[in-house]
């Protein structure tokens, strides 16, 4: 047997999956262990090993590849790790992190209701305080020319001062270093000479050579801040795996969509932030390739949030900056938008206006929704689903837990009092409002960005996704919803990690080059970037046939700020290619921003060249065992279930895990109560389960 083992650690749960050569998935969901996340990692392995009738060593002996998505970095930055971090920057730019580009610092990443509540908003605590920031006498300008020579003596003094302090980590980020890294590199050399070798060093021109000093410096400082603890964590897992007999490479999920070998991941831990949702998207991309879907709305609903990403033409949409703790930072990432709307989102009534509201606050894992019976008194979306009958209180999570219906009812009382609504109206209302919020987010991400949702398929995953997304899809006139791999959709991010290739992505930005572009120059620039990436991948052991390089160019119109990414052919570029690049740009610009939006009379500017280099790793086979077709779903029981959108009780077919399998057809209204998730198929829908165990719902 040869397994792929993936573990995805989230804030509340650690999800593991083992995928065998036939595509059979074994899952291991355990509680996360924030005091030492590696404990959860190995207990997930243990759960899965036991299910497979072996122990961890046995499992790892048969494992080809272990991949890991971790939230350790995210936690470290959210909780403000206790790491003594210094920042070295250009003199005069020492306030770059505290100023946070003005209003952005009090609004980025917050919901509109949060940032409008101005009695409460603040900027976050500094990533690096000003007393730990050092200004270098050196200056480079926007052409990359040196205006003030690097002051060796002062730099040496700064390095000595830093060396004398209790420093753990140093970030170096100077103005215009992405155009000319000489001064940053020299500072790094001096620091390496002066400080202990175990101090973690991050240089902006190495990590993220991108235009805009705030976002670049924030990325560098975040990397520095979380570097020591995250690298220690990854090394610990790596070492322990080796002790337990695993002789392969540990791959770590990256927010840009690929994985990185542990030794790279520990240098750039900032790329692990938000990598969990990115893994889910990568999994969708992989499945979309198999199912020949080009355009996907990836919709992930868990306990606290609802995340949406888009795949167009088979590729996840990425963006250049990300946000954590209100800091915008420049690390290219799969573009996923999130709102506080999950199964655990709290329903409440606004004072004076008596509006019924849902979220963004949620109950978290402890105490959880009222129906968990763990003392939670807040009425949540999950409580509403239990009252409606979607979830059977006696058969929660495949019968592993039971739920407390009375607590859910009791929690609803304050809402009934405040709104004058009946119990089931409250339940209906909470689900309808929550669904409407999710539908609005999807429409913002599609319609508003120039995409018609009707041309998309929804992939619904996360513990709560398959229950609500089919109804939401109807609202958006999306015809097809896929619950990927059926029950494993609840651990989809973990599945997604193993479908990721090793990714090296280099950009060269801000060259201020206007059309007509010179094909020879462009070829040369691309070749330089490609050589670097190829060397990196080769050093990681990838052969030529496993290396795939993809070129992209970002263009904009002369007087407009929007950049659009277009693919560029490989090899020697020709004049024809230049024309093709521009016409692709114009076409895509019009699709995204509307007819006549582009100002071609103001010329074309080449803003960035980028190469994504992939080292192909072993992928899971998604094919399920050719099971006996459960074409009728066995003997179907029915129950009266209350459907919020229809606002009535419907006689609903109810399936359990053992009732379903590949080849089965079904008609709505139906509910599938699987081991880890619940799928709700509205009355107007029907569908089938395909050979990969994907539940395909069509309206």
């Amino acid at each position: 047997m040869s397994y792929l083992v993936n573990v995805d650690i989230g804030g509340t749960h650690t999800d593991g999956v083992v995928i065998d050569e036939q595509g059979e998935i074994t899952d291991g969901k355990v509680a996360s262990t924030p005091d030492d996340f590696s404990a959860g990692f190995f207990s997930s392995l243990e759960v899965m090993a036991n299910k497979l009738g072996t122990d961890i060593e046995g499992l790892l002996n048969d494992t080809e590849l272990v991949s890991h998505g971790t939230t350790v970095g995210t936690n470290a930055v959210l909780e403000g790790d206790d790491v003594d971090t210094k920042l070295v920057t250009t003199k005069g730019s020492e306030s770059v992190l505290s100023m946070m580009r003005g209003a952005a610092g009090r609004t980025s990443g917050l919901s509109v209701e949060e940032y409008l509540h101005m009695q409460e908003v603040t900027k976050p605590d500094p990533l690096v305080s000003k007393k730990d920031t050092y200004g270098l006498n050196e200056r480079i300008d926007c052409m990359g020319d040196v205006v003030v020579e690097f002051d060796e003596e002062q730099a040496r003094d700064i390095a000595e001062t830093i060396a004398e302090s209790d420093v753990d980590s140093v970030a170096i980020s100077c103005l215009w270093s992405f155009l000319n890294p000489d001064h940053e590199e020299r500072m790094e050399e001096i620091l390496e000479e002066e400080i202990d070798s175990d101090v973690f060093l991050t240089r902006s021109s190495d990590l993220t050579p991108t235009w805009g000093e705030y976002e670049r410096t924030a990325a560098t400082a975040i990397n520095a801040l979380i570097g020591p603890s995250t690298s220690e964590y990854i090394e610990k897992i790596d070492d322990r795996l080796e002790e337990l007999g695993y002789d392969g490479t540990l791959l770590v999920m990256q927010v840009g969509g690929g994985v990185a070998p542990a030794e790279d991941a520990i240098r750039e831990p900032v790329r692990t932030i938000d990598s969990g949702p990115a893994a889910g998207m990568t999994g969708c991309s992989y499945l979309a390739d198999t199912l020949e879907h080009d355009n996907i709305i990836a919709a992930d609903m868990g306990g606290t949030s609802f995340d949406v990403g888009l795949i167009t033409d088979g590729e996840p949409i990425t963006k250049a900056t990300n946000v954590v703790r209100q800091y915008d930072y420049s690390i290219r990432n799969i573009d996923i938008e999130s709102i506080g709307n999950g199964g655990g989102s709290i329903a409440w009534v606004e004072e004076n206006t008596d509006r019924l509201r849902v979220g963004p606050q949620s109950v978290g894992a402890d105490p959880g929704p009222a129906c968990y019976g763990q003392g939670g008194e807040k009425f949540t979306v999950t409580d509403a689903a239990v009252l409606c009958g979607f979830i059977d209180p006696e058969y929660f999570l495949g019968g592993r837990e039971s739920l407390d219906l009375d607590s859910a009812k009791a929690a609803a009382e304050s809402l009934m009092d405040a709104t004058g609504m009946e119990l089931m109206d409250v339940a209906r209302g909470v689900i309808e409002i929550s669904n409407a919020q999710m539908a609005d987010l999807i429409s913002q991400r599609t319609i508003n960005k120039g995409y018609d949702p009707r041309n998309f398929t929804v992939y619904a995953y996360g513990g709560a996704g398959p229950l609500y997304l089919p109804s939401i899809a109807n609202r958006l006139s999306v015809d097809e919803i896929i619950v990927p791999t059926g029950d494993s959709s609840s651990v989809w991010s973990a599945v997604g990690i193993s479908s990721s290739d090793v990714l090296h992505r280099n950009e060269e930005s801000n060259m201020r080059t206007f059309a007509p572009f010179d094909p020879e120059d462009m070829t040369e620039q691309f070749s330089t970037i490609e050589d670097d990436i190829r060397a990196d991948l080769e050093s990681e052991g990838f052969d030529d046939e496993d290396i795939r390089l993809e070129r992209y160019a970002n263009l904009s119109y002369g007087l407009q700020v929007h950049e659009v990414t277009v693919p560029v052919p490989s090899g020697e570029l020709t004049e024809d290619d230049m024309g093709e690049i521009i016409s692709r740009f114009e076409e895509k610009y019009e699709q995204l921003y509307g007819e006549g939006a582009g100002a071609s009379q103001t010329g074309f500017e080449l803003v960035t060249l980028r190469v994504d280099g992939y080292g192909e790793s072993t992928k899971p086979s998604l094919r399920a065992e050719a099971a006996e077709a459960h074409t009728d779903g066995g003997i179907v029981e029915t129950e009266e279930i209350f459907w919020p959108a229809e606002n009535e009780y419907l006689d609903t077919a109810v399936y359990y895990q053992d009732d379903i399998g590949p080849g089965m057809d079904f008609d709505g209204p139906a509910v599938m109560r699987l081991n880890n998730t619940t799928v709700a198929i509205p009355e107007s829908d029907s569908g089938e389960i395909d050979q990969y165990n994907n539940i395909i719902i069509q309206s």
Binding site: S95, L116, D151, T602
Partner: protein
């Protein structure tokens, strides 16, 4: 001078153009225009919440379409725009989260169009009106409104509008911001609402007339397309909603959104006693070259559920410093929204139902034609916002319920820097430097303000990176940082402003126009604490910066540089030569509470982060530090120093009336 047309007169257009349009409670609309006035009150809680969220989303998407199609740096970086959704008679249902000032004012545009365009040229489905007339409903000429009616079954159902700041719309200074103007004839000629799109078709004649105003017709043309596209996309979405839920329900939800905001407003107002609150501040110079001070006064009278603003004692309108009725009216939202209606997504219309404006025409805060108003949208409106905050925060102090909501946000001033010349790439350039966004953000009653927190009413307006400015303009920054001691001192201090210091780079010189206020006296005194530091702009001409660079030295402060130091009045024009170092200070905001009550540890923290100087710590906060390497608070010395300061205060205090 009203025209007589089948018994319909509209408003008194020429009086509007003279004194500023003030709509009556009952609008005079041509009887042939059918309004969709029916709506259902019977909307269940769930439908209400679902549709409320949807309408907000539709309006926000309107803003994003505008930003997308425009692609202009003003829209994208400055976020200097806002979309608005209004009822059939112009009450605002939702503003977008961008520049707040643009939304309440759209109501005036709609009402004026209803009164004066309903018969000729008529209001029809697919029409779009454009306008930037400050005497009808615009803050100043560069803020151009595009306004569209939406019809259902032949009845006017609702209005949508968007406003986008234009780079240049004419007038004697590039950028259409003319601090040197003596009157409006030196500025861009105001355009009252005219039909630019008729039944879905752009009128080429009108579009060309509009573009012809500008030095940059291409950019203005692109933004024209963007503003039209935003309205057309939104029109479709509103129609989809009406198809799905029915017109009566959608209108009922709109009505309830406004009613909710009214309820919230009244609930807070009813906590307060009746009374009158007054404020008096100054405008510094009516135009470039004038260094007189002009009084701006404001009175707020609260009687029952009604707030009435008057401006007795304000100076006459003169030069370019003036604000029209429309600008003053919308300025009120900048105080009411954040302090009272933050949980209503800033829907101000419910509050406006209870706000009367009874200001005297011919004054700097209610300008009569043809006084200059192009600075109104920034400088004069900021002064008015400060006065409104002054009277409102004093009023809110009268009750525990409202006191906690206070934000001491008005800026001590505002400085707008326009630069022009040849850029480093060999092209002519002209810009309003967006460093203006780097202001402080006000103190709250239980926490400090935010240093360089940005302008309150523009929550999405980002300060550009140094690298953005140096890429686009021929400048090289020596430093940009929080300005020390610029935060208004208090138990909870205000937010500090920003120092920017730069030289021209790869160019011979930069033509510079500074337009500011609050350089001599701050725009606001705050309440019971210190105001923020005023604005300042200065240069060191003929400096030794080149030698310093050669010696691998970057000066840490403009005062370290050798040369001729010159400090400018708030409104000035000059040329910054290649080796002239320039520094501007953007304003801070006021604090809250007595600085002698401030936790000394926080003062120490501010000292370490270079927000407060040791001098201010000692003389204003009364905090004394131990003289060791690791600075610590000397508790006994601090207690003594604070007592000493209180005694000084008592000794120096006089009662003005008895002097």
């Amino acid at each position: 001078m009203a025209t007589d047309d089948q018994g319909h007169e509209g408003s008194d257009v020429w009086e509007d153009f003279q004194q500023g349009y003030v709509p009556e409670d009952n609008l005079d609309i041509h009887p042939d225009l059918d309004l969709h006035e029916q709506y259902t009150k019977d909307i269940d809680t769930v439908t209400y919440e679902v549709l409320r969220h949807r309408l907000w989303t539709v309006n926000e998407e309107h803003g994003q379409t505008l930003e997308n199609v425009s692609g202009s740096p003003v829209a994208y970086f400055g976020q200097d725009f806002n979309p608005t959704l209004m009822t059939h008679d112009g009450e605002v249902v939702f503003n977008g989260p961008y520049v707040q000032l643009f939304s309440p004012i759209a109501e005036l545009q709609v009402k004026w169009i209803l009164e004066n365009r309903s018969d000729n040229p008529g209001i029809e489905p697919g029409d779009i009106f454009i306008s930037n007339d400050p005497w009808v409903g615009s803050t100043h000429q560069p803020d151009v409104f595009f306004v569209a009616p939406i019809f259902v079954d032949g009845e006017l159902f609702c209005w949508i509008a968007n406003t986008l700041h234009q780079y240049d719309i004419g007038g004697k200074s590039a950028g259409s911001f003319v601090p040197g103007a003596s009157d409006v004839f030196e500025e861009s000629t105001p355009i009252p609402p005219i039909k630019a799109v008729e039944g879905g078709e752009v009128r080429k004649d009108v579009k060309q007339m509009y573009q012809r105003h500008s030095r940059m017709p291409d950019m203005v043309g692109l933004d024209f397309n963007a503003q039209v596209a935003g309205l057309q996309v939104t029109q479709e979405q509103i129609h989809d909603l009406i198809d799905e839920y029915g017109a009566q329900t959608v209108k009922g939800v709109m009505d309830r959104i406004i009613e909710d905001s009214e309820t919230k407003f009244l609930e807070k107002i009813r906590e307060l006693p009746d009374g009158t609150w007054r404020a008096r501040e100054f405008m510094e110079g009516s135009k470039t070259g004038d260094d007189d001070l002009y009084v701006a006064e404001l009175q707020l009278k609260k009687e029952g559920d009604t707030l009435t603003f008057t401006n007795e004692g304000s100076a006459k309108n003169e030069g370019s410093m003036n604000l029209t009725y429309a600008g003053f009216r919308t300025a009120i939202s900048c105080a009411v929204n954040p302090m009272l209606l933050y949980d209503q997504l800033w829907v101000t219309s419910g509050a406006y139902r209870h706000i009367d404006i009874d200001t005297d025409p011919g004054t700097l805060n209610r300008a009569e034609y043809p006084s200059g108003v192009s600075c109104g949208g920034t400088l004069s409106i900021e002064l008015s916002i400060a006065l409104i905050y002054d009277v409102m925060t004093r009023m809110f102090s009268a009750s525990d319920e409202t006191r906690d909501e206070i934000i001491t946000d008005p800026l001590a001033g505002l400085i707008v820097l326009s630069q022009a010349g040849m850029d480093q790439w060999g092209n002519p350039f002209g810009t309003m430097n967006l460093d203006v966004m780097g202001t402080g953000f006000g103190a709250r009653t239980d926490k400090d303000g935010i240093d360089v927190g940005g302008i309150l009413f523009s929550p999405k307006g980002k300060l550009p990176n140094i690298e953005n400015n140096e890429q686009d303009y021929p400048m090289l920054y020596l430093y940009r940082r929080e300005s020390e001691d610029s935060a208004g001192h208090g138990e909870f201090r205000g937010g500090g402003g920003m120092d920017s210091c730069f030289i021209p780079h790869n160019t011979e010189a930069i033509q510079t126009v500074v337009a500011g206020n609050g350089g001599v006296t701050p725009n606001t005194r705050g309440i019971g604490a210190y105001p923020g530091a005023p604005i300042r702009s200065r240069t060191v001409d003929g400096s030794d910066i080149e030698e310093r660079f050669e010696n691998q030295e970057i000066p840490g402060d403009i005062e370290e540089v050798d040369g001729d130091m010159e400090t400018y009045p708030p409104k000035a024009e000059f040329v910054q030569g290649a080796i002239d170092v320039m520094e501007t200070r953007s304003p801070g905001t006021a604090g809250y509470g007595d600085p002698l009550e401030r936790d000394p540890e926080k003062v120490l923290e501010d000292l370490k982060e270079e927000i407060v100087s040791e001098e201010a710590a000692n003389d204003i906060y009364g905090v004394v530090f131990d003289d060791d390497d690791e600075r610590t608070v000397d508790e006994q010395a601090t207690e003594d120093r604070r007592e000493e300061l209180i005694e000084t205060r008592l000794a120096e205090s006089t009662i003005p009336a008895e002097e």
